[in-house]
Amino acid sequence: MNVIRKVLRAGFELIERPFDRLFSPSLNPLAQLGALGFFFFWIVAVSGIYLFIFFDTGIDRAYQSVEYISRDQWFHAGVMRSFHRYASDLMVVMVAVHLLREFSLDHYRGVRWFSWFTGLPIIWLLYVSGITGYWLVWDKLAQFVALVSSELLDWLPIFGEPIARNFIATGTLTSRFFSLMVFMHVAVPLFLLFIMWVHILRISRPKVNPPRTLALMSLAALLAVSIWRPALSQGPADLAKVPNNVGLDWFYLPLYPLTELWGNGAVWAFLGAFSLMIALMPWLPPLRRARAAVIDLDHCNGCARCAEDCPYEAIRLVPRTDKLPFPTQAEVNPTLCVSCGICVGSCPSSTPFRRTDELKTGIDLPEYSLRELRERVMDTAAGLSGPGRVLVLACEHGAAAGRLGDTVVMPCVAMAPPSLIDFILSRDLADGVVVAGCAESACYNRLGVQWTEQRFAAERDPYLRARVPRERIAMVWASALAASRAETEIAEFAERVAAMPPKRLRSPLPVSSPTRQPKALETERGAT
């Protein structure tokens, strides 16, 4: 599994980085796959409703009504038909790439099992939606789909009479089955939407809408393609003939030729094995998980920053259980927590300026406490020498994770509270600090890069204080496979730092635990 994942990740890197450059990390479609899935779903839904106005649901007139859509009314209904088909196909592409990408990022185990597992019914429902859709046109392809699907179903010992007999010239063809398909083609996508909603239940701030530029470009591209190559039918179904040489939709129907090449039993075996594999993968092997974050009520004032920043919906605010004069306190759900430490970085009580015996914070990782983080920083800093002493704070999933010597590794760079940077520079532990995380569009913890950037830019609590010299901080966003680029960037930064005049050290003010600033929080809410 590990090897496959690494190879896949390397493959994705090859496409993702050029895409980052062409689109910018925030527009990169590969980092927007889930959102694009929702976007295409909405296009399919709207165009489907539009087509339904013109569609005749009886088996005798269905084909004619679709011909009317594509020929007589091509400039609106025909275009909608193409939108409907191509957006559906794009959903399959999106699902396939999304699945592979989440796998390659090791996003399928641990607490993420939920999203992975609910992806499986999504695949089945998506395919049932698409296959029933092709049925409705009742052209040659529909006849092929009907015949092969029912032969496939007949292989299962469920039906008394072979349903395939409905789709050959036995005189038994009734519109009963067809009406069932029309019903399914409406009901199954609705159910799909419901499961899509369940799929993202446990993800905080899921991206369900692509950036507007990307959405507009996709719509324009769909329009262009629809005009260049409108979706058309393939001649009326004729039960007295074999539906031979049909143009297949290779996204929805790739297994259909296989029913003939391998046999129906083998296709079912393949589907069963595939589903079983997807269903079991999160536990093959399970992710070793560090212990969940814990709250220290004496240092928690219920400010909710940790709950806002946790990418896994693992923190809730609950009514106070002790005597401190705050209405709420944070509570961690250990089954959802991945111990990324992002909450530690967000808690206003996380101030390394405190004395060691006092260095406690509102929320901390039992296996890697803030105190230990500060100790590692101080130990590592003690080993730095020469002009341009640069300390690297690295994410364990990013390019700098394997560096030795001047590097402190943590589960996510967003674990480091901004005050830690202030601490390092103002206590003269180093001349410059590099914050080295994952690639910008592929953060292992989804939101770590974003939160770090926003905190440093004073757009998100807790802020990096204004007194911290920004020129002495560098952010390096590079995946584990881009270690050499990261190395170059760190070396260049070290040179720049070495050339800087010595820091004017201000004696650090004793930092009291900053209280919530309502105004700052307003702007933060507005910005997200």
Partner: protein, 166 residues
Amino acid sequence: MKAVRLTGQFIVIVALFAGVAALSDWPTWGQIPKGTGVVMLTFVHGADRKGECRRLTPEEIAKLPPNMRRVKDCPRGRRAIYVELDVDGRGVYQASLQPTGIAGDGPSRVYQRFVLPAGKHDLAVRLRDTARADGFDHQRRDSVELAPDQMLVIDYRPESGSFVFR
């Protein structure tokens, strides 16, 4: 510069979408080779029950639980049916088809496809659905002209006890 970049992005998206659109109905898939047609042998037919019904004796009836008492005992299982198909005098299919259903009381079914070159063919189909050991209860022999891509169905009508070619 911004426009160039946007154009580049748009071109990439259009190219991807065009590729997807192209694969949505191309390449084509041929189920059967050119110049052939299909003869489909398919029907659903239940043979007789395996045995005669037997009148139960009053003692036997008394032994049954009250809610299950009945006068006759009928075996539910059906016999298998035996089917043969010859094409141009050559036997291409012989099968003894077991009844469906857990209790073996459902009809037997056959669904079999034969790909033949287009042209004239001599088809003979035979069915045995009674207890007899040899010979056939129903049969039909006919010569048909199979057109390319034609799907010719051999069906059996239990109501009339006859085979239908169409």
